[in-house]
């Protein structure tokens, strides 16, 4: 009896599922050979995908490199705004790199309130106090001690010129650009040994050039000793900070944020940043967002192009597909074969595109870096691992785009009746 059930249920197994290597190999061969059969068309497809992937790869690598460079370059220029206690006197140039030494303080809870405001991208709290009792260098030298949060920091670490080859940790101290301690050396402060983790570059801002920077954890560890030596001083009370440095999000202006902060956080003074620099930073961020949007559009247009191409390819092969259906190929197998073909072609295009991108970037490397450095942006190329990751992502994305592009024509072809496909010319 030729009941259809026997093929699915016999022996309690559904062994007819097409998961064998033989059929996968044959259908894969069909896909590959079809690409080889139409060399000119395959070349055009590969070239189009290669150009697109190459542009995306190059764009992504340059974008990430510029972003990194911007982060470094602009954060060195200082924060956009500084929030300090009402009544504090400030030197605006110095203020945007660090808060000024003062006895007035803010509660640490202000940091989360500021971070919650729309338009603020990053908040970096700092605690600063000046003392001549630290015993620094065995002299009674007045030093500025600045506690900061390495995770949130936007103005200290970008200036690091030398540092130990490890993350900063409790018990470390960063010295200003005019300090002479060797990196890794021990430094006694209030009789406690600290390790010189790094040294800042020269900023021409006194606090930055001669200051000693420690994490809040290190400062907490020193707090009791300092209190015993210096007596009780407001900046050394727990959960107190001297100010918060602020970086604005793209689109937010210092004027808008000034109103927003004063409305939400009373009792503070706001020191505004350099409006032009803020605008440039925000403008460039918006430009990079635009490049990202362009990349998305390019990939979408690639998918549309692949879709059109595969519609033509499938129309040409309707008889072959009808024949496969007639001899027992299931719809999923037909779709799988066509998607494999599209993904293989576009992945190869992606590989070629990335190779093209690397060549292009190597060719223009010197002129690009020179140009950007003339603009005052210290250009930092993305490291090899990150570049490789972007290349792999581009290749995979190209393959996925190919499969997505071919999905609709493949699905439509699989829905057609085998006889309708067989009767087609092809």
């Amino acid at each position: 009896m030729a009941s259809a059930d026997i093929y699915f249920e016999a022996d309690g197994q559904r062994s007819a599922k097409p998961d064998g290597a033989g059929i996968r190999f044959l259908l894969g061969s069909l896909a590959l050979q079809n690409l080889g059969r139409r060399k000119a068309r395959t070349f055009l497809l590969l070239a189009a995908v290669a150009i697109c992937s190459g542009a995306v790869f190059t764009g992504a690598v340059l974008m990430r490199s510029i972003e990194n460079s911007m982060d470094l370059g602009f954060t060195r220029l200082g924060a956009d705004m500084l929030i300090i206690p009402e009544g504090t006197l400030t030197n605006i140039t110095a203020a945007l790199l660090t808060a000024e030494p003062t006895d007035l303080t803010l509660d640490t809870s202000i940091v989360d309130r500021l971070a919650g405001l729309k338009g603020i991208r990053r908040t970096a709290p700092q605690l600063i106090f000046r003392t001549d009792l630290s015993g620094y260098g065995g002299r009674d030298e007045s030093v500025d001690m600045i506690a900061f949060d390495p995770e949130r920091d936007i103005t200290v670490q970008p200036w690091l010129e030398q540092r130990l080859d490890r993350p900063m940790r409790q018990g470390d101290v960063i010295v200003g650009g005019r300090r002479e301690e060797a990196i890794g050396a021990q430094l006694l402060l209030f009789g406690k040994p600290l390790i010189v983790y790094g040294r800042l570059g020269k900023t021409a801002v006194g606090t930055h050039e001669r200051g000693l920077f420690v994490s809040f954890e290190t400062m907490d560890g020193l707090r009791e000793t300092i209190r015993q030596i210096c007596g009780t001083k407001a900046p050394l009370e727990p959960n107190k900070i001297s100010g918060v440095l602020i970086e604005l999000a793209a689109g937010a202006t210092t004027r808008q944020m000034r109103f927003a902060i004063l409305a939400n956080v009373p009792g503070v003074k706001i020191v505004g940043g350099e409006t032009m620099l803020t605008s440039i930073r925000q403008g460039l961020t918006a430009l990079l967002d635009g490049v990202l949007a362009l990349i998305v559009i390019m990939f979408a247009s690639s998918a549309a192009m692949v879709s059109v191409l595969f519609s033509a390819i499938i129309t040409e092969r309707r008889r072959e597909l009808g024949l496969l259906r007639a001899i027992g190929a299931r719809r999923a197998q037909i779709i799988g074969m066509l998607l494999t073909e599209a993904a293989m072609a576009t992945a190869v295009g992606g590989v070629l595109g990335c190779a093209l991108g690397v060549l292009l970037m190597r060719s223009y490397q010197h002129s690009l870096v020179y140009y950007l450095q003339n603009l005052g942006i210290p250009f930092v190329w993305l490291d090899t691992a990150a570049t490789g990751f972007i290349a792999i992502a581009c290749i995979l994305l190209a393959a996925v785009i190919g499969a997505i592009g071919a999905l609709v024509p493949a699905w439509r072809a699989s829905r057609a009746e085998p006889y309708e496909l067989i009767r087609s010319e092809g």
Partner: protein, 222 residues
């Protein structure tokens, strides 16, 4: 073996619906060699497509053994075609980028994907029986039209179907090759007891069958 009950096919066109097949009733017993003859456009290929599970009838039912094939879901129908029906088409229906042996093994691999070695062994045996042993590794373009048609017959037989459908199996072949192909089809019908339905417009070929069915304007006339 095969039973068609009021099977009809209507194609919608810009100038209105066209009835290609008009409610045909047909019974073909197991092992019979039936020829369906008619002029071009008479509906014979449409009828065969409905019998073979390739084109859904607008009305009526097709039963092969006890299975109402058009009541099956698409995947099961594909599997039914794979196991129970062999096709010999009028066009060169070998996949040009696959070797002859791959073409012949393909239906077996589609149906029983885990039995690759067995599929290729059977394909080689069938090619040997049809005198194509020396062409197993050849590509379709490297062999003659007659040899290609014999390879198509081998492919149709790979899953030992109970029903063989041949649509103009000797079109565009020279006379000696035509005789050779017809001999092979008759032999399969006689020796294997395979039900064979052949569509042709060639009365001389149809006369070699057990039964000749004439179709005109979508209806069986005799």
């Amino acid at each position: 073996m095969l039973s068609c009950g009021n099977v009809g096919k209507t194609y919608p066109t810009e100038r209105g619906d066209v009835d290609a097949v008009k409610g045909i009733d047909l019974e073909v017993p197991r092992g019979q060699f039936a020829a369906i003859v008619g002029r071009s456009g008479s509906g014979k290929s449409s009828l065969m497509a409905m019998i073979g599970g390739l084109s859904r009838p607008t009305r009526g039912a097709v039963r092969v053994e006890d299975t109402d094939i058009w009541a099956l879901p698409d995947d099961r129908l594909a599997q039914f075609r794979n196991r129970e029906i062999g096709f010999v088409f009028q066009f060169a229906s070998l996949l040009p980028t696959l070797r002859i042996i791959d073409n012949v093994a393909l239906p077996a691999l589609l149906g029983r994907p885990r039995e690759t070695k067995a599929a290729y062994r059977t394909a080689a045996e069938l090619l040997g029986q049809l005198g194509l042993s020396e062409y197993v590794d050849a590509y379709p373009s490297e062999i003659s039209s007659g040899e290609q048609r014999r390879a198509v017959i081998a492919r149709a037989l790979i899953n030992a179907p109970s029903l063989l459908l041949a649509d103009e199996p000797t079109s565009d072949l020279d006379e000696p090759t035509e005789i050779e192909i017809m001999d092979q089809l008759r032999e399969l019908n006689r020796d294997r007891g395979m039900t064979l339905i052949m569509v042709t417009h060639n009365l001389r070929l149809a006369e070699q069958s057990d039964r000749v069915l004439h179709i005109a304007n979508g209806s069986l006339v005799s």
